[in-house]
């Protein structure tokens, strides 16, 4: 019955399994219908979509995909989204694992308070800090820059990162790092050359979870990027829903293009992903 034994013995397909597969397939089809709908419409022209919103494409023309990059800021928005996602991830990895290790190895009452302070962030909705942040960014001249979005994301993701890393580090034996210290390695070197590699499972999970949520985020870039920036993918798409006409053919095309990287990322790393989910939350 267990996942482990199950893989070893090749069982016959039971009737129950077939039913489960069927139920899951129906569920998935129903849930994925919007994506399928967007995919089909990305091959249709504006006139076709407007005239018959539910029609099927008459052919598979990639004209919309070409036009999306030629006539809109989508390319720039795509680049912005990449910079925000990549930049935030790199910075998160530079500061969060180190801080979590520091908290775990600091000991004492202060360790507990610092941990609590970080975890409290999970309960502070973004809306609570939104208005002061916008005005501060404005004063600093950072409003409507990618830097502001990255900074705001960093703060938001730190809590989850500390939670994830701390619960993992608790299971990491001290002996290895202590041995390294005896060898005379500095703390920083010990961390990056000995500890950090041991955190790889949680790191990959953290990276994937964060990458998806950063890629898909809409609210933070909406608030922090105004019309002077091309925005992120989602912001650019929201701007295509227009005052006079909405460029639906391009919106659907842009939506499909935005989904592709997430699906590829998930399909490639789903093993780590699932492991990460269990590390992070199960221990509660």
């Amino acid at each position: 019955m267990s996942a482990r034994t199950r893989r070893r013995e090749r069982r016959r397909l039971t009737a129950g399994e077939v039913v489960v597969m069927a139920v899951l397939s129906v569920l998935v089809l129903a849930v994925s219908f919007p994506v399928l709908y967007a995919l089909l419409n990305s091959f249709r022209s504006y006139a076709e979509i407007t005239k018959d919103p539910m029609g099927l494409p008459s052919g598979f023309s990639f004209e919309n995909y070409v036009r999306l990059f030629q006539t809109t800021d989508y390319g720039e928005a795509l680049l912005n989204t990449l910079v925000i996602t990549g930049g935030t991830l790199i910075l998160l990895l530079a500061i969060v694992p180190m801080a979590a290790w520091g908290i775990e190895r600091l000991g004492g009452r202060s360790s507990r308070w610092i941990y609590l302070l970080f975890i409290a962030g999970l309960m502070i909705p973004f809306q609570v800090r939104m208005i002061p942040l916008v005005s501060s960014m404005n004063q600093l001249g950072l409003y409507s820059t990618l830097t502001s979005v990255i900074l705001v994301h960093l703060g938001g993701a730190a809590s989850f990162g500390i939670l994830l890393y701390c619960s993992f580090i608790k299971g990491v034996p001290r002996e290895v790092e202590e041995a390294a210290e005896v060898d005379g390695a500095g703390k920083l070197r010990t961390f990056w050359s000995i500890v950090f590699p041991m955190l790889l499972p949680v790191t990959s999970a953290f990276v994937i979870i964060q990458a998806l949520s950063l890629w898909n985020d809409f609210f933070i870039p909406l608030v922090f990027l105004d019309a002077s920036s091309a925005g992120t993918i989602n912001v650019a798409l929201s701007r295509m829903v227009g005052l006079l006409t909405s460029q639906w053919e391009l919106i659907y095309t842009g939506a499909i293009l935005a989904i592709v990287p997430s699906v590829v990322l998930f399909a490639a790393f789903q093993r780590y992903f699932i492991k990460g989910m269990s590390i992070g939350a199960v221990k509660g």
Partner: protein, 457 residues
């Protein structure tokens, strides 16, 4: 399309920064947006002379194909004609925004001779703009420009300023012909028309409230007769602030709004988005649709279904008048050409800029703009301009401009809190149209919000 898009997202859900003006713009400037998303125009100080001619740069925002062609077409024609000046096109690349570009130019002291201003007041007060001479303004209709306190004019429109004339009913001309229906000339005739269509078993009118702002499309023409009464006295909303009027004065138009919604509007309007009414129209799910884009909407209909025979009319008042809100020409929402103070210092550049503007407002240039698909500015000699009527229904729009029943009225709202109230009022109206509240409740709620906002000013 770029600027139209950027502005529209701000209009429906404003983000910080440019939102305040966008909000007002989206209310007041829809028809302009339809014709020409803002263009940035700029000419160089680097200039100098080219073959004895004074060269000026013409910097403008790209993105909208119509405007790109107009800019290029008019500049080419000007260069071919002028013996003294030459205009160099300098497109502002897509993604570059207006305020940043302006600030950069200002900081580097490299002001263009000609600017399409939006933050007119800011730069005017900073002394960056030069007065536009009478040789230019004389070419224009009196109501599309105005002197500021010092008696000089600093901004002239780049395109037609037709106020809210674009708040039209778009209709199916073939259906009207088939059922011998005529465009109404009074409000009573409009109701009779709705009844006749309903009697045929068809849905008379599609409207949209899926976003909040399109709810103005039906409301504003209905309320226009009431607003127009206060035109001379500084506008309805200022009268409400001064205590000379109240939200209760809008009871009749609100009642009409409610009655039309209940009786004649196609079901599903609450979640229908503005652009989707085109779908409803071309699929004959409704005979008429509300719109605020004037020719822009006709263009859209034509793009979707070239065979659709569309027409437009403006909702008449009881007395047959077509009360249309006119543009603010100097206020916060005004936009258009300005000449820079830096060009004035240079002298020659100023002359070249003036010469270009004189050409821009000539019949020849206006014909060119019309040919390209943009509505030409309101020049005195507009009768001589050859209007582009290739889009089905466009002739109706131009006929409206010449309609003797047309009554332009002003309703300036210069206080910032108004946009907050306005959004609230739109939502409160939708709530009332939807039957969640009564008209009395709607009025009371809106009045309370108005008082709150006015108090906070």
């Amino acid at each position: 399309m770029r600027n139209a898009r950027a502005r529209s997202s701000a209009g429906s859900m404003p983000t910080r920064g440019l939102s305040r003006r966008s909000l007002m713009q989206s209310a007041g400037g829809l028809s302009i947006a339809a014709a020409v998303p803002f263009a940035l125009t700029a000419c160089g100080t680097s200039g100098g002379t080219t073959g004895g001619k004074t060269a000026i740069r013409f910097l403008y925002a790209t993105g909208d194909e119509t405007w790109n062609s107009v800019a290029k077409g008019v500049a080419d024609a000007f260069n071919a004609k002028s013996a003294t000046a030459i205009v160099e096109l300098e497109p502002l690349p897509a993604g570059t925004d207006y305020p940043t570009a302006m600030k950069t130019m200002d900081a580097t002291g490299n002001w263009p001779a000609l600017v399409d201003m939006r933050d007119t007041l800011t730069y005017l007060e900073a002394g960056k703009l030069a007065p536009i001479p009478a040789s230019v303004t004389d070419l224009l209709n009196d109501e599309v420009y105005a002197p500021v306190e010092d008696g000089d004019v600093y901004i002239v429109p780049t395109t037609a300023l037709n106020g809210e004339l674009g708040f039209n009913m778009v209709y199916d001309k073939d259906y009207f012909a088939e059922h011998s229906l005529a465009v109404p000339t009074t409000y009573a005739e409009f109701i009779a028309l709705l009844d006749a269509i309903k009697a045929n078993g068809d849905a008379p009118l599609a409207t949209a409230a899926g976003e909040i702002w399109p709810s103005d499309q039906l409301w504003k023409p209905l309320a226009a007769p009431t607003f127009a009464q206060y035109s001379e006295a500084g506008g309805f909303w200022n009268a409400v602030r001064a205590g000379d009027a109240s939200l209760a004065d809008l009871r009749e138009p609100l009642q009409r709004l409610k009655d039309i919604t209940d009786e004649y509007v196609l079901e599903g309007w609450q979640s229908t988005q503005d652009a989707q009414t085109t779908t409803l129209l071309v699929n004959r799910q409704a005979v008429m649709a509300t719109s605020s884009a004037g020719i822009g909407r006709l263009n859209d209909v034509n793009k979707v279904d070239p065979d659709f025979n569309a027409g437009i009319f403006y909702l008449p008042a009881d007395d047959g008048k077509l009360n249309v809100l006119k543009n603010s020409v100097n206020g916060d929402t005004a936009s258009g050409f300005a000449i820079s103070a830096q060009a004035q210092e240079d002298g020659k550049q100023y002359d070249a800029a003036v010469e270009f503007l004189e050409f821009y407002f000539s019949v020849e240039a206006c014909d060119l703009m019309e040919e390209t698909g943009m509505i030409a500015p309101n020049i005195k000699a507009s009768d001589e301009v050859v209007r582009n009527s290739t889009i089905p229904g466009a002739e109706d729009y131009f006929a409206l401009l010449a309609n003797p029943s047309l009554n332009w009225f002003a309703n300036e709202t210069t206080w910032a809190g108004f946009s907050t109230f306005h959004t609230f009022f739109r939502q409160a109206r939708i709530e009332m149209q939807d039957g969640q509240t009564t008209i009395d409740e709607c009025i009371a709620k809106a009045q309370e919000e108005f008082d709150n906002q006015a108090e906070n000013e």
